[in-house]
Amino acid sequence: MKRKQHVMAVASAGGHWVQLMRLRPAWKGLRVTYVTTDPDFYQTVCQYAENDGEPLPGFHTVVEANRWQKWRLVKQLFGIIFIMARKRPDVVLSTGAAPGYFALRVGRLFGAKTVWIDSMANAEELSMSGQRIGKHADLWLTQWEHLAKPEGPKYLGSVL
């Protein structure tokens, strides 16, 4: 039997995470490892796994960082590299923000396919990470139809 696809699903705490959770039917039946910035979310994913009749997912955290916290960003990047080197997923998927950007870049170096779903919170232009990740994403999506362009990002739907 063919082994299950291994998906790494990445989002920082807050709205990005809420959006990621709404997409979980996309990896139903596949092996999933979550990466986020708040250890408390382990309870959340275990609860969902139980409700959805799925096995317990992998779960890892990296430090929270925004674009002005350079040292924390470096720590976050090293966290992502460490997790990626150990887990070696087939595909890395993210709704943002910084940890997702790093995970797609690093994941690709390890040979993974990459999926970026830009946050719904960016209705008039893509997020900064969303713009920069375009050429590194195998599937590059916006959740607003009017932001889709022939050269990408594409629109396949939204979490709402």
Binding site: Q5, G14, P25, T44, D90, W144, G157, V159
Partner: protein, 169 residues
């Protein structure tokens, strides 16, 4: 109970103050509970309700379930959570020029969000009082519309097909 939540990342004094002033002036008294972000020195301290700076996901969900009305910044996390629980929500966007967040993405998102029966938008603190009163009048008579717990099947199926086809190169 009215539940004020301003998201995970940054303070939003303008909304905390607006709700505090509203609570002080409104004729009917409401129980209010607030999740705010750890105030830096000099941040506004509300006089009319209790605040906490962090809620675990379980506590957050419990507060949402208890709430008759949610008051929030215009963050997608709070908005989606209110919708999935069928709770009415008043939102006020953070503004870029006031340095409440990095740019005006909350403001533009609010402009692009489709109208929903239990979504009430206060563009700024001057509209907040009217919008709060309007929301409270409407939630008494309105029927909650609950958003499904996950995204549309069309979208997640399309993603699923892509994930299935993704084998490491």
């Amino acid at each position: 109970m009215i539940f004020l939540t301003i998201g995970t990342h940054e303070p939003f004094d303008r909304l905390v103050r607006a709700l505090d002033v509203w609570a002080d002036q409104t004729a009917r008294k409401h129980e209010i509970f607030a999740q705010i972000v750890s105030p830096a020195s000099g941040a506004y301290r509300p006089k009319n309700f209790e605040t906490v700076t962090h809620l675990t996901p379980a506590d957050y969900e419990a507060r949402i379930l208890q709430a008759d009305l949610i008051v929030s910044h215009a963050g997608m996390g709070s908005i989606l959570t209110a919708f999935t629980h069928g709770k009415p929500i008043v939102i006020m966007p953070r503004r870029g020029h006031l340095r409440e967040t990095r740019n005006d993405h909350q403001y533009t998102t609010v402009k692009n969000l489709a109208k929903r029966p239990m979504l009430f938008v206060a563009e700024d603190e001057t509209e907040f009082f009217t919008v709060m009163d309007h929301a409270l009048e409407n939630i008494a008579s309105g029927t909650p519309q609950r958003l499904s717990a996950v995204a549309d099947t069309d979208f997640t199926d399309a993603l699923h097909r892509f994930l299935l086809s993704s084998t490491k190169c």
